[in-house]
Subunit: 265 residues, 3 copies
Amino acid sequence: MIERLLNCVREKRPLIHHITNMVTVNDCANITLAIGGLPVMAHAIEEVEEMVAASQALVLNIGTLTREQVDAMIMAGKTANSLKIPVVLDPVGAGATGMRTESAKRILNEVKIAVIKGNSAEIGILSGAGGKIRGVEAEGIHNDIESYKRFAKDNDCIVAVSGATDVITDGSRVAYVDNGHPMMSTITGTGCMLSSVVGCFCGAESDYFDATVAAFASFGLAGELAAAHPEVKGQASFKVAFFDEIYNLTEEKIKAGIKVRFEYF
Amino acid sequence: MIERLLNCVREKRPLIHHITNMVTVNDCANITLAIGGLPVMAHAIEEVEEMVAASQALVLNIGTLTREQVDAMIMAGKTANSLKIPVVLDPVGAGATGMRTESAKRILNEVKIAVIKGNSAEIGILSGAGGKIRGVEAEGIHNDIESYKRFAKDNDCIVAVSGATDVITDGSRVAYVDNGHPMMSTITGTGCMLSSVVGCFCGAESDYFDATVAAFASFGLAGELAAAHPEVKGQASFKVAFFDEIYNLTEEKIKAGIKVRFEYF
Amino acid sequence: MIERLLNCVREKRPLIHHITNMVTVNDCANITLAIGGLPVMAHAIEEVEEMVAASQALVLNIGTLTREQVDAMIMAGKTANSLKIPVVLDPVGAGATGMRTESAKRILNEVKIAVIKGNSAEIGILSGAGGKIRGVEAEGIHNDIESYKRFAKDNDCIVAVSGATDVITDGSRVAYVDNGHPMMSTITGTGCMLSSVVGCFCGAESDYFDATVAAFASFGLAGELAAAHPEVKGQASFKVAFFDEIYNLTEEKIKAGIKVRFEYF
C-alpha cells in the first residue's frame, strides 16, 4: 500500500517550503529533489507567507533558530494552516536549551502541526514523558507509546519518533518501522533530511499517518541499501550512496524491503 | 577561442566575493576553487566594501535574501562599480515572491550589473516578457530572444538564460550553448554554482560576453563528461563526478566538446 | 604518545559547540562526527550560554561574521571560561578586512582562548609579525617562530599555524607537523574542519598542546591517505575519501604515519 506513495510524490512533485537550519539546509534541498519533490528555502518575514502559499508542504526546523526565524516560522505556519497546507515540525534540540523547548512549544501552540518529528528525547521532553538530550542527540531511548499517543491526540497531529525502531502514531494507530542502518547516525543531518522527506510525502498524500510511515520506511530502507554498497568505505562514501539510493528508490524496492508493523486501538 | 579563457582563470586565480544564499554557499565556494578561482564569502555591511575592493568579481545571489542582505549587496555593488569590478547578479526566485522581484529590480537599478544570469522565468519576469516560476524553478521554457536583447541593451549588460539550450546576449550578439545534461537538474544549486563560474571567468576576462559563454559551455560540458562516468549511479555520485570534471577541465577538452552557435546582428 | 588521544576522543565523545560560518558548517559537523566527537551548532544570543555549558569545547570561527554573531561568541566564550571549557578560535580572514581583524582581537581580549588556529597570514597579522591575506588565504608563508612563541605567551594559549609545515607552540614547546597533502587546499573549509578537530581533541585531553598536535597530525595524515586512493580523480572524490579516512583513522595508522618534530626551550 504505502509503497505507492513514492509514485505520488514523483508524479505530483510537491513544492516543499523549508524554514530550516544552516547546517543541513543543502542536504535537505538535495534529498527533497532525490525523493521527487521540489525544495525552496526562504525565511525573510517579508516573503514567507507568499512562498508558503505556493507550496504543498511546509517544513519547520529549529536547528539553528533565532527569535526572528521563529517569528517567520509562525507567520508561515499560520498561512499554511489557512490554506490547508500540511506543516511538519522538527524540534531539533528541544530540551537542550530553554529557548529551543519554548520555541517548539510556541510553534505547537500557535500553528496547527500535521506531523511533529523528533528523536525520543525531543518528543519526550515536549510531550512531558521526559528524556535526556546531548546537543541535538537523544541519550538512551525510552519509547513511551502511551505518552506519544496522548501527545498526538492533544495536538491532533502525527507524532513520529526516530530511533533504532521508529514509532509513528496518530493517537489511535501506531506504526513501528524497523528500517534503517547504524551508518545513518555517522552523518550529520539525517534527522533533518527525514523531515524533508516527510514533508514530500505529506505534500503528496493527505493521510499524513500513511505519508509519514512511508517516508520513514523509504528513508530507512535507502540507508540499508546504501550500507550494502561495496564502495562504501566510511562516512562520506556512505552519504553519497545513501543519496543515490533515495534517488533510485522504486515501488518494487520499497514493497520488498519495508519492515513496518501496525497496531490499531 | 573561448577555450583559452579557462587558462586565464587558472593563471589569474581571481578572487570572487560572494554575497549569496545559505543553501548552496559551500558548493559555490568549492566550484570556484575547482574552476581555478579563489572564493570569499562575506555579507556583514561593515566589511563588504573592503572585501569587494580586494576581489576581481562580485557575485550577488538572492536565494535566501533578507532586507539587510540586499542592503549589503547594493553597498558592495556600488563599491565594485566604482572600482570597475564586474558584478554578476543571480536573481534566484524572482517572480516567486514580491520581495524577490522587487529586490532584483532594486539591485538592477542601483548597481551597474555586468551579467544577469537566471532561468527563463526569472529573466522573463524581470525583462517584462513574462514567465512562470515554481519555488526557484522555471515552469516551461519560453525563450524570447528579442526581449532578452532589449533587456541587455536597456541595462547595458550581458543577459544569460540557463535552460536545455542556454541563451547569452549582449544585445547584439547572441550565443546558444547546447552543452549540459539532465542529471544537472537533479542536484540543488547548479544555477548558483554556474553564477560563481561566470564570476570566475568575468574576473579573468574583460569581454564579459565571451567570459559568460565560456563559463556556460565549460560548466555544461563538465556535466556531460560527469554523466558518462561509469561510477555515477544517482544524484550524489553525479555531483561528485561533476565537481571532479570541473576540476579536471582543460583547454583541449573544452575545444573538443563545446557546442556553441553565435548570431550577430 | 599522541596517537592515543584519538581513542580519548572516541571514548569521551566530546560535545563541541560551534559558533561558525555558514560556508563550511556542514563539513564541520560531519568532521566532528567522523573523528569521534558530537557537534552542535547554535548562535542565538538567548541560548549560547546554556548550550556551551553542556559542551566539552567551544569553537569560534569568524568566517562569515556579523556584529551580533561576535557578541554571541564573546558571551559563549565567557561562559566557557567560567566553566573551564576550552575555547578554540579560528580568526578566518583576519587582515582581509578591518572588521575581521578587530573582531578577532576583541575576542582575544575578552575571552581566554585555549588554542588560536589560523594560517600564517591570519596569525602573523594578529601577532604583529605581519602577513598578507587574499580573501581568506595566506599569500606566501612566512613562519616567524619567535613571534608565534611570544604571541602564545602573551595570550597564555596554544598558537597553531597551518601550512605546508604546520607550527604549534605554547610559548616554550614548538611542534612542527609535516603531515598533509596539496589536494587538501583544493576544497573549501579544510581550515575550518581542522579547527573542529582541534576542538574535539581539546574536549578530550587537557594538555591542549598535545591535543592540538594530535589534531593537526591526524588531520594531515588522513589527507595523505585519502590522496593515495585509486578512486580519487579530483576535488570532490578527494573530499569523500578524506572524510572516510578521518572516520577510519586508528591509533595504529597515526603511530605509523605521523611526521612531528618537537623543540623544547
